[in-house]
């Protein structure tokens, strides 16, 4: 009868787009591994993990932001600002290094909060707001640093960016923890559910009593915080602080998130997808380089994969819908 309790067929563990990505990733891995015997080694893979940590960390809150139908273009500039303030406060304010790190994370948080505040309170569209702060935050980084870089951190500072813990690059642990936390939040918590609801229908979410503005404020703030964290790791990895750090990283991050199947219109997306997107981009870049493809050609391949993967998913989806 009407009130059926028969459950819909169990959900697949992965969404269709993620299956497409896994297949592409598997093919790419297989091909690249046969072409270069140095590609599929633990050493290389761990090293690639180290290199993608910053993009990965920022991609986590970016997935949240895009799931709600927003966007944050200012992350690269926020990263530059945090990096500068980390070094500047340590050197010029005489902050102990620990305090300088906390200060940098705080600055990132505030930078994200400012984005979120304008977006929720004054209803500035996210794209416009973050395009403005993209210029503003980078400008502040340049102005504060007066183009001077800060170097010569104590040896211990480099553990995060260049060291290893139990044989795995230190920052990779952080990334893994972040992935788990963000994935659990998105998939399992009321907060995550609220993000999807906002992305699909913000008014409906508001009328259901969800604290829409507070949630949006929180994710833009988180975006700033993670940009600050990425700045810390980046400074530690490259041992210096410059105002142009993180330039253009927003496009790398968005490419990974979008490749991971998160819809730019909101409501759709998973952390698993984003992680697959990150891996695919990073391993393609690395693998192609190892098989002798130059950097410029690699960019072309990644652009094509981005379009193709979404294309395949669209086709698959349409086929399935027609088959119904």
């Amino acid at each position: 009868m009407s009130a059926t309790e028969a459950r819909a067929p169990k959900r697949l563990p992965l969404a269709p787009h993620e299956i497409v990505l896994v297949v592409i990733l598997a093919i790419a891995l297989a091909v690249l591994a046969t072409l270069s015997d140095r590609f599929f080694t633990l050493d290389n893979l761990l090293n690639q993990g180290r290199l993608m940590t910053e993009v990965g960390l920022i991609a986590m809150p970016m997935t949240f932001v895009i799931v709600t139908g927003g966007i944050d273009l200012s992350v690269g500039s926020t990263m530059g600002l945090c990096a500068i303030l980390l070094g500047y406060s340590w050197k010029n304010f005489g902050f102990p290094l620990e305090l300088a790190i906390v200060f940098a994370l705080l600055v990132g948080t505030v930078a994200g909060f400012i984005n979120g505040w304008f977006i929720t309170r004054l209803k500035v569209p996210p794209l416009i707001m973050t395009i403005s702060t993209l210029a503003l935050y980078r400008g502040l980084a340049e102005g504060i640093s007066q183009a001077h870089s800060v170097r010569g951190y104590p040896e211990g500072f480099y553990l995060l960016g260049q060291g290893e813990v139990w044989g795995v690059p230190t920052q990779l642990w952080l990334l893994v923890v972040a992935i788990v936390i963000f994935a659990v939040i998105l998939a399992r918590t009321t907060f995550g559910r609220s993000l999807y609801a906002i992305g699909y229908n913000e008014t409906g979410a508001r009328f259901s009593g969800l604290p829409v503005d507070r949630i949006k404020l929180a994710i833009y703030t988180a975006s700033g915080l993670m940009a600050g964290l990425a700045a810390w790791i980046f400074v530690s990895r490259v041992s210096t602080t410059r105002s142009d750090m993180g330039t253009g990283i927003e496009l790398d991050v968005i490419a990974a998130v979008v490749l991971g199947g998160t819809s730019i219109f909101g409501g759709v997306g998973t952390i698993a997808g984003t992680v697959l997107g990150l891996l695919l981009i990073q391993l393609l870049k690395d693998g192609l380089a190892l098989t002798g493809v130059k950097g410029d050609a690699t960019i072309v391949v990644i652009g094509a994969v981005l379009i193709l993967s979404i294309l395949i998913t669209n086709f698959a989806q349409r086929r399935r819908e027609q088959g119904r």
Partner: protein, 350 residues
């Protein structure tokens, strides 16, 4: 209800006007204030520099505005301009007649944009994904093909951007400053301002504004951007309209690329950094709603001029160069907030 009706007439008119008035007032204020601080800022030579160097941004922003009104976005535009400029230069150096060195890139631009349009319209991939992918492809492809070798040695006549209005009538030799007849010498500063890129900017802006407002095709862009389903039922198919939108965008991008390429005597075969952001910022500050359905190209051109003038003005008022970018960021933010405040006042906030 009666209250709404009473103030209804001319609302649309006032609305579209003030969008542009805000920018115009902004530009005027900027020129007056900075002109008072440093009179050289308003000298015709500097006005010419500002207009000349940014006309191509304004032309590209026209196409971008059309795309955004239709509810899409294009972030590949900067890379495409870089690619087209190299093609244009390479053709000119290879001895292709100058006209074709200008025209072929425009045709290629239209084709590339239509390809992207097809992916967006027929295969339903979000435009941001298509153009993000295309950005990568063009950027990498350009360097792969050219190896980054600079292009120079184009014939003099190739430099369309250096032509002046008077060259068309008086001087046979383009690129050289024309000798102005006595009778017109009083008008010389004005003629100096009217270099080809500036003329293109003016005519293309007015032409596009007219097209967007007064033709069925132009209105169909608003229709599709405002409500694609309703448009379909009015006999305006989303797919074909989007193809047209991208073709038009391709035309303007191509023209912008030609203006860009024919300016310097050396063409760098790399993609101009952040050009797409500059162009999108001009469109958005010009009042085109990122949600589609509203906006005019006059606004985007004025915004392009305002942004360029801000960049120049900050140097003239001796802002420390280290703080220049921050000041620019604040001014853009202020412009955006002023616009939002104004909309609020009029109850037009979404």
């Amino acid at each position: 209800m009666s209250a709404t009706i009473a103030q209804a007439p001319a609302r649309k008119w006032r609305f579209s006007l003030s969008q542009e008035w805000l920018l115009l007032i902004g530009i005027a204020t900027l020129f007056i204030v900075v002109g008072l601080i440093n009179p050289r800022f308003v000298a015709s030579r500097n006005l010419q520099s500002i207009l000349l160097a940014n006309a191509y941004v304004a032309v590209a922003a026209i196409g971008m505005s059309v795309v955004i009104v239709s509810g899409n976005i294009d972030i590949s535009v900067g890379s495409l301009i870089g690619v087209l400029a190299s093609i244009s230069g390479a053709l000119a150096v290879a001895g292709v007649p100058v006209f074709f060195a200008w025209a072929i890139p425009v045709v290629i631009s239209i084709l590339v944009m239509m390809l992207q349009g097809a992916l967006v319209a027929y295969l339903r991939i979000p435009s941001i994904v298509v153009t993000l992918g295309m950005l990568s492809i063009l950027k990498g492809g350009l360097i792969s093909v050219t190896n980054g070798v600079w292009i120079s040695g184009m014939p003099d006549s190739f430099h369309l951007a250096q032509w002046h209005l008077l060259d068309l009538f008086i001087a046979a030799e383009p690129g050289k400053q024309a000798a102005v007849p006595e009778s017109l010498s009083a008008l010389k500063p004005m003629f100096d301002l009217l270099t080809m890129p500036v003329l293109f900017m003016l005519f293309l802006t007015l032409g596009a504004a007219w097209w967007m407002r007064n033709t069925a095709k132009g209105r169909s862009v608003y229709a599709v951007g405002g409500n694609a389903e309703a448009a379909r039922l009015c006999g305006i198919p989303r797919e074909r309209t989007l193809m047209m939108v991208f073709a038009v965008h391709g035309l303007f991008t191509g023209l912008a690329a030609v203006l860009f390429a024919t300016q310097p005597s050396v063409i760098q075969s790399t993609v101009p950094p952040n050009l797409e952001l500059t162009i999108i910022t001009a469109s958005v500050v010009g009042g085109v709603s990122i949600l589609g359905g509203t906006g005019t190209v006059i606004g985007s051109t004025l915004a392009a001029i305002l942004i360029a003038a801000i960049g120049s003005a900050l140097i003239f008022v001796n802002i420390s160069p280290y703080w220049l970018r921050a000041a620019q960021g604040i001014l853009i933010l202020v412009t955006v907030l002023a616009d939002i405040y104004r909309r609020r006042q009029r109850g037009l906030a979404r």
